[in-house]
Point group: C2
Chain length 191, copies 2
Amino acid sequence: MVRRNDQRRSELLDAAIEVLAQEGARGLTFRAVDKEAGVPAGTASNYFANRDQLLTQSGSRVYERLVPDEATVAAQEPIAPSSEKFHGLMTDLIGRLTSFRSGYLALLELRLESTRRPELRAVLTERVRADIAYNVAHHEQSGLPGDATSVKLLILALNWLIVEQLTLPEVFDEEERRHLVSEAVRRIVGE
Amino acid sequence: MVRRNDQRRSELLDAAIEVLAQEGARGLTFRAVDKEAGVPAGTASNYFANRDQLLTQSGSRVYERLVPDEATVAAQEPIAPSSEKFHGLMTDLIGRLTSFRSGYLALLELRLESTRRPELRAVLTERVRADIAYNVAHHEQSGLPGDATSVKLLILALNWLIVEQLTLPEVFDEEERRHLVSEAVRRIVGE
């Protein structure tokens, strides 16, 4: 009975992401997930052994949903590797992250919760490391300008820009955000 | 009776910061603050009209405690404005922020809580804007290399580096963090 309906599990995790974003990690209970998913009380507890499992799988689900689908990748402008192309990719990435607002906020909640839960911290650490390694490897194969350090510095700067946009959106207006992204790529990657 | 003991108020806010970092924004209750401060139950509710006030004043208290004292400023190496000096200032700043771990984590909790509380969001937005403006103005007067955009991009990159260090400390080891700081200054500020 371990493997039940995968579709239902994903729906419960999507509900957990909304609860995390709206209520914070402390508000993430089986009951809240059932309610958000609109399923009978007791459903989530049939799919997850405990709250730790619910937390870690919610984090994985956010990453799963952030992977661009093949159509999106195929639609990327077929321009030659250049800092212009790099800039376009970063703009797409920011768009993908900010349009999944609850997912990004849920990841921040999980990071804070992981300071209190070593098991969650281990899972998130692996995930974030894999994500950085993937981006560095992808960059190497792409022929884009810049090096591994450029990729890491852009990850740093753009993540905080997204935090700013999602939590205190009036600190920078949209024009300034665009300017900061374009200057980040220009200065960090080089021409 | 509005103005009571300022010292006691600060102690209660310091306790609130610890509660925020340890328990998250949802765990911040008057009762938890009294307990953390080791004062009789009911004390905090004499100092703060409501939970919103406690949240906003906790945020201000973190900023208050992060201001370097005059001795620290005076002790900064009296070397000429240069990217080397800039790098030293950034290293000091990161040290100040990461050594007040609970304060930085409390600010992150407050940012997330502010997505649910417009009043808190307004206070934090003002505070963060003022902080950026102060840093840009201070940079202009200092004669250090770089421009306002350099200051903002460094704020972005270093903030996320600190988030990484405080929440998932094994994503980058200390040597890599140092390398990233030095490359951030070199690339963003220019020689």
